[in-house]
């Protein structure tokens, strides 16, 4: 039990890390990674939804009739997204404004629905929470990594929280504005994926 628990948790961190290994949920990945703080905020919000929706889906898995399961999952997910939305408005309003419509769009993030359908609907609540937490943390780390690359090259800084900059390039550094604009997101993610393939495939 403890072993499989650890396995479900750690697979989200490397073997099935989204969005690199599971190419799902790309929209927030590309859109919010202009700054590390946005990436982290988005990752934490998604993790919250993922853990609680996995838990509830797993608890209700024997009650929900299989014909209407997708609709039920969507309602469960939408409920937690609304909680996150209201919570962020109350606690971290500036971040909420920056992430904009991508917070309500967690509802249609394929990772969340994908885990509910592929994992939580077949496993017990403890394993489902471990899976949600692992995938969520993996997602947060990938967002932060991509955001770090883009922010470092595009603006010359790394901002982790609300204006707290932990790293700044020297004055001679010319920001590479392409990286923080739309095309840079695609190119940076594509090249990181190539890098992962290079390391990962023996």
């Amino acid at each position: 039990m403890a072993q499989s628990l650890a396995k479900e948790f750690t697979k989200g961190l490397w073997a099935e890390i989204p969005p690199f290994r599971l190419v799902l949920g790309l929209c927030p990945v590309l859109a919010v990674t202009t700054k590390v703080e946005n990436g982290l905020g988005m990752g934490i919000a998604t993790t919250f939804v993922l853990v609680f929706s996995n838990l509830l889906v797993s608890l209700l898995r024997n009650i929900i009739p299989s014909k209407v399961r997708i609709a039920c999952y969507i309602v469960i997910i939408a409920t937690f997204v609304t909680i996150v939305e209201l919570g962020m408005q109350a606690l971290v309003y500036p971040l909420f404004l920056k992430l904009g419509i991508f917070i309500p769009l967690i509802v249609v993030n394929c990772i969340v629905l994908g885990r509910a359908e592929a994992f939580a609907s077949k496993n017990g609540p403890v394993l489902a929470v471990a899976d949600g937490l692992g995938i969520g943390i993996g997602f947060t780390l990938s967002l932060a990594a991509l955001a770090a690359v883009r922010e470092l090259l595009g603006a010359g800084t790394i901002t982790i929280w609300n204006g707290v900059t932990i790293f700044e390039m020297g004055v001679n550094f010319q920001p590479f504005a392409f990286m923080v604009q739309a095309p840079g997101a695609f190119v940076a993610l594509g090249l990181m994926l190539a890098g992962m393939n290079l390391i990962g495939k023996k």
Partner: protein, 190 residues
């Protein structure tokens, strides 16, 4: 003229795929072949216009009227999911040819964030009914245009010799970046 500018803006400058980053999963998933790309583009145009109009009506006459804006996320996703289901049943019965053409792309649209995203954008920009109609249609056309262009390019890449780590999704993303770069040059058109 106002509507024309809005349409151009939504199709080219604020292209939903390449500038707003919405609907990227089907963008990468259905662009390997031209046929599937065309099917997806048609399905999105069809559903997005309907969804845009219906969510606007729901928002204006139900949510705003009763101060229920906090239920927007839940109600929109339910509207979209049931709309997709309804469209599917309707097409199956009355226009089987179109139904066969759209195939599996129709149910997939429920989780396409381009649809939900465009609806939310219309609401957040406080568009009226006509503007919502025009912008929903233009966003969908922009989606179709980018998807079909990208599918054309990807078919050519299949013939090229790509370095091993870059194969498949990786090279597709880099290519999408180059296409996004060309779309950036539309800035300043309106």
């Amino acid at each position: 003229m106002e509507y024309f500018e809005l349409a151009i803006g939504c199709i080219f400058i604020n292209n939903i795929l390449l500038a707003q980053f919405l609907g990227n999963c089907p963008f990468l998933g259905t662009s390997k072949k031209m046929e599937t790309a065309v099917g997806m583009a048609m399905a999105v145009i069809f559903v997005l216009v309907l969804a845009g109009v219906i969510t606007w009506v729901v928002d204006a006459y139900l949510l705003k009227a009763f101060d229920l804006e906090y239920l927007r996320t839940v109600s929109f996703i339910l509207v979209i999911a049931s709309l997709v289901q309804f469209v599917e049943m309707f097409l199956k019965k009355s226009i089987p040819a179109l139904y066969a053409g759209l195939g599996i792309f129709l149910p997939l649209i429920t989780t396409n964030c381009a649809v939900m995203g465009a609806c939310l954008l219309n609401i957040s920009k406080e568009y009226g009914f006509m503007k919502t109609l025009v912008s929903s249609f233009s966003y969908a056309v922009g989606f179709g245009l980018a998807l079909i262009l990208f599918a054309g390019v990807r078919e050519r890449i299949n013939l090229a010799k790509v370095p091993k780590p870059l194969q498949d999704t990786s090279i597709a993303l880099v290519t999408a970046g180059v296409i996004a770069l060309t779309f950036m040059s539309f800035k300043g058109m309106v």
